[in-house]
């Protein structure tokens, strides 16, 4: 039984990892279109990516749109999460439902809606329009992540801070926020990724001006199956790996620094 489960686990891992195993070698391929296994290897398509404004501009667009979406989402989600997790008020369950709505509605339906709505506002084909639409899609995900964190937050800590002389504002700055910081950062990261990955809405409303990377990739694969797509996928994968590994690495560096600080600092030798 145990063995069977283990084999099953390995199979699942292989199934999940398989696309990567295919995509990464293909990015180094010298074939003229996407082909696996690659007939030979070179870095030509990496060179092509970094020298083609046709690719760099959508990349830049995506980064700007995702960053702005992340900021806007967090401005909305942090206060909303505190309100919805900690307080009871009239209409709370409706507000809860509205927060989750974009997750339940198919993206294609949302996209059609945005297309006509933003069209009336003359925001179709603009960065700002895409940012607004992406924020709507990112809010429920950021909210889910952050509310899970906030629900697990022990409010006795806030009481303790207040009993020790911290006003509500200082309690928030010194205790609540630092403890929730990892949760807020993960929540923001998800908002960023949500926007960066989003394709359907981007195809409908990003147009030529605000063309995002996924949209460009979709267009490209439809027309010519340019192996640069494999390059971009590999680069994105590398960024994600880095983002996942960085916090752990940072932690171990800090720990090493801390253990080197002599206890004299604690004894107040400053």
């Amino acid at each position: 039984m145990n063995r069977l489960m283990r084999i099953l686990g390995v199979l699942v891992v292989i199934f999940i990892a398989a696309p990567l195993v295919i995509v990464v070698p293909m990015s180094f391929s010298d074939a003229r279109s996407l082909q696996f296994p690659p007939p030979g290897y070179w870095l030509g398509y990496y060179y092509a990516f970094f020298n083609d404004w046709g690719w760099l501009r959508p990349t830049w667009n995506s980064i700007i749109i995702a960053a702005a979406t992340m900021v806007l989402t967090m401005i909305l989600v942090v206060p909303a999460t505190f309100a919805l997790v900690r307080y009871r008020f009239y209409g709370k369950s409706v507000a809860d439902l509205m927060m989750m709505m974009p997750l339940a509605v198919p993206h294609i339906v949302m996209a059609v809606g945005y297309y006509s709505f933003l069209g009336d506002l003359r925001l179709v084909h603009t960065h700002f329009g895409v940012i607004l639409a992406h924020t709507c899609l990112a809010v429920p995900i950021a909210f889910l992540v952050l509310s899970a964190n906030l629900k697990g937050f022990d409010r006795t800590l806030e009481r303790a801070a207040q009993s020790l002389g911290a006003s509500p504002v200082r309690t928030f700055m010194h205790v609540t926020l630092p403890i929730l910081r990892p949760g807020i950062m993960i929540s923001a990261l998800f908002a960023f990724i949500q926007s960066f990955d989003e394709t359907v809405v981007a195809i409908f409303i990003s147009g030529r001006n605000a063309e995002t990377l996924p949209r460009k990739m979709f267009d490209s694969i439809r027309q010519e199956a340019d192996p640069v797509i494999a390059v971009i996928s590999t680069l994105l994968f590398a960024v994600v790996i880095l983002a996942l590994v960085a916090p752990a690495g940072w932690k171990s560096i800090r720990k090493r620094l801390r253990s080197k600080t002599p206890p004299a600092a604690i004894l107040g030798s400053q």
């Binding site: 009481r159 403890i179 604690i266």
Partner: protein, 353 residues
Amino acid sequence: MNSYLEIKNITKRFGDFTALHEVSLAVEKGEFVTFLGPSGSGKTTTLMIIAGFEKATSGDVLVQGQSLSGLAPYQRNIGIVFQNYALFPHKTAADNVYFPLQMRGYGRGEGLEKAAEMLDLVGLKGFGDRYPKELSGGQQQRVALARALVFEPSLLLLDEPLGALDKNLREQMQIEIKRIQRRLGVTTVFVTHDQSEAMSMSDRIVVFEQGRIQQAASPLDVYHRPKTRFVAGFVGESNLIPARITDAAAGKADSPVLGNCEVKANGAADGQDVTLLIRPEHIRLSREPVDGRKNARMQVDTIVNYGDNALVMGRVGDLNMRARVLGRDVIILEEGDECCISWLPESVFVIEQ
């Protein structure tokens, strides 16, 4: 003459439920007072009202004659140790203890120096750079205590702080807390539902039940001279026997089960229905009645032997009685036997309520 801490006629209602009824209490400077009672008796609510986390429906709390009612928790200068310690997980032990000083405008150098002194006092010298999760339960407890004391609070409140510790550590921390409290002379309110903790630590025990103070007295008074049946039953083991005073002046009472008893009436009037309290350790077991003592025949149901002592439970008539005797005294008995129990007249305490 004002007391250091005064709780005046505090009533607390949650909707239709009244959690506290007109609770009043005066605590002297430096006193160690324990709020003892079952859960839901109002002891923690009272503590939270003192701390400012709950608002009393009516009544007032004063420290040194100053009302606290207009002050937010952070303005009250009261140190609290919470049940789960509530240490800040993102700060080291030293920074946790420094926190209240930081809030009071101390510089980091001076603040950390004071924090280190306080950690030293609670027996954690050299643990300042550890994070809470790197400390054991007892050590976390000490950090929480240091943090609640470092800013010289006007009051120290302890909310069942020993509940999460195992038995040995608990006893050790009881002694530690008492030592530190005496050393600093800080007026302390300790909340617990553990009567042995209350007995061993307090200058005074305040027994709560159903939102009322049943009795506020020294541990020995609470144990030997409980004011109500509830106090007698909650603090220590007890035999409670219904009786009626027949002659208060001559010290005579009549019990339906035990017959005539010699008692000290304690101000109860002739003809008054009372409860007689006999602590199990004041009861002796024997085969035959003993002269000079009140004797009764008991049917032994259960013997629980603890080695050094033993608990013998049985019935006298339809009344359940328990006796706690030395371990060797129980050898003569077996469950199902009938034996003689006896006690001295002065071991009987009359409870009026």
